[in-house]
Amino acid sequence: MLLPPSDSKIIARRAQIVAALQDMVPDGVVADRSGLATFDSDALSAYHQMPLVCVLPSNREQVSAILKFAEKEGVPIVPRGAGTSLSGGALPREDGILIGMGRMKRILEIDYENGCVVVEPGVTNLNITKAVEANGFYYAPDPSSQVACTIGGNVAENSGGLHCLKYGLTTNNLLGVTMVLPGGEIVTLGGKSGSQGGLDLLGLVTGSEGLLGVVVEVVVKILRKAPVTRTLLASFDSVPAAGACVAAIIADGVVPAAMEFMDKRAAGAIESYNHPGYPLEAEAILIIDADGVEADVSYAVSRVIDIVAKCGGKTVEATDEKQRARIWSGRKAAFAAMGKLAPDMICMDGTIPRHALPDVLEEMAKLSEQYGLGFCNVFHAGDGNLHPLIIFDTMKPGEFERAEAFGADILRLCVKVGGVLSGEHGIGIEKRDLMTDQFTTEDLAQQGRVKCAFDAQGLFNPGKVFPTLSACIEQGHIHVHGAQLPHPHLPRY
């Protein structure tokens, strides 16, 4: 994957840019090599790039000053939360200012009357829940990285988690943001009333992967913790049986709080990693949570047990809170457990229509053979969000490249069956060049024009999400002849 070439004229002005930033944020500029090395990657760790300079603002006025300066000087900006993006969204640029939001981590207001919390963007996802759990509330979206990832990053990526089937993604749990636009202007979108009196720019900004501005304040909804949660572990003799069971549960009208699928290989690796008690003989297992009031949960659990049996599976229920936690600790450690299988792993992320699952799994097995690489599947089954884990060894020549190509083919397969490139990890640089597989030139040109409405100079996170940088001045569209993109000889980032 290539980033757009850096601008040597900007790099030549580095000392001057660093000095200007030091004037704006006297105690928050990282410019020495060893300091910058901390920021040279995110969770897509195969890619590294030292930023030109990193700045750590403490308030919105500083952010505004930085963005005003960047626009005037024509310097690219890469926003960063905790650097947990799996798609390279926070990968720095050699000619760009990395703006780290980690210092803005105050919880500004907890408003139980309106069921919301106002926070700065650097607050971690889990710390929102921690701030309100003593009163019986929590923040619903729960990405696996929730201990570390920040709410600002969650807004940028529209993060999901295990429980979004019932509770939605970040965008469905957000009431408002205040953001600094390219050029330094500060705007507030939404708020406690949830209304904006115009276009839903809050919805547009959520999940925009740092391409439209920098969020400096966030208002999120908090929910009352369900009084009852029960967890079932269902095992099946075949993968299609498990797939059919998922469809049957949904068709029955049950909405589990979470429904996770794991194949035999994934379950085996996890079992040997932290012993959550998964049945090793099963070809596929499902972990199913039902939450709510007692009667609704009992009803859902009894329906699920019936349906699993009809699909030829067996169900075990966690008998106490400790066992519940153990079952889930396995799923949450799935990525780490892959270390049992191979030294390296990449985690893919695509969504498919659930009915396509058996075909997709079969096709993936063929690809695995073709590329000579192993893989296993964990899958947010309820909403069709696949996370195939490709295992390989970087030390073996060519394996990383093969793993990337295998991953790309899996995502193309997701699109082919009517799905999408990303269910929750975002596009970043990882899937950028596949965007043309999902979207037509017209689709991408329309998104490009929206980008230009915010960032006419194209300074925000350049090289991410969109495969080609379009010049905003044209505001027009590119013609496509057949399946040919124009100017096939030009490099595409």
Binding site: C164, S193, G197, L201, T351, R354, G423, E424, Q438, A453
Partner: protein, 378 residues
Amino acid sequence: MSKADTPSQVADFVRAARADKAPFEIVAGGTRRNVGRPLGNLPLLDVSGLSGILKYEPEELIITAAPATPLAEINAALAEKNQRLGFDPADWSKLLKSNGMATLAGAASCDASGSGKLRHGGARDSLLGFQAVNGLGESFRGGSKVVKNVTGFDLPKLMCGAYGTLSVLTEMTFRVYPKPQYTAILCLADVSPENGFAALRKIAHSALEPAGLAYLPASMMADVGQGAALIKLEGASQPLEEKIALAHGLLGGAMRRVEEDPFAAIGSGEKFADLPGDVWRIMVAPSDAPHVAKELNVKHWLGDWAGGMIWLAAAPTEAARIRKLAADVKGQAMLLRASPESRTLHGLYAAQPPALAALGHAVKLAFDPLSLFNPGRL
């Protein structure tokens, strides 16, 4: 009036309008034409022929339909499989005395959610994907046809509440939800707005997952003393005894069960259909509702969404005062039913701060550079 019955006819029409620099009004069922700034005598593009359910997959929790499909048709198809649209689309035709058919795109474009918005959010939380024609006359797609997607910009959000100012929709895909089999309506009667809204907020922030929470003063409901807090509960199992008991536990007092569901008439504004004056919807933080209600000092009003949505009828001369009251609590006052003169003067919403207005305008032009679609309505 021109008619476009297929997406390609829509594109042809837009390209011709673009060549002529001729703005037009988009109409299907026509029930919401009198909302927002009047467009004057612009040519009409009738897209009512873009109608019908294209694909309904209950196990995938999605439905794809042409935009002018009547809500009634969608609701009936979903009900057959015990499902429903998540955003509780509100049909304003009784309020606006229109005899057209409310459509799917009309409800989503006007962000018209009823009382049930509490449960699964607004249209923007349910619209997964769409196909539309932009102001360049190009057909483009936003979003997808799966329930979980973060690929590219979330354009479906923008389409909801845009009042047809960004593009002409030609296909829409919505997430659907199971329809609970049991419903119970509870009424806490003879409570002040202060106490009534406090009770509703308590239920809103409980684990009861309520589907409707409204306060109606005596002027809007008979036999409830000074006013009533109404609570709608739903569940998949049994006749909700447990939820009702929990609600009683939270609120104490004497709540009674009401047989008839008043929420359809509340969420659609039907309660104001025969009242004189302009009809407003004010969105506020729920805890501001009692204060706003008191300051409004109008006879006919009610609070939905646990107080987050105040409906009211007021004399046209009150417009500036209502807007100021909403602005003072960082709310939004939307002028829903009013004379063309009032709507021209006051617009649908208050003017936004300049930076936000400029940004919204830039986004509008990114879709429709010549402002061909419903110019000025929003």
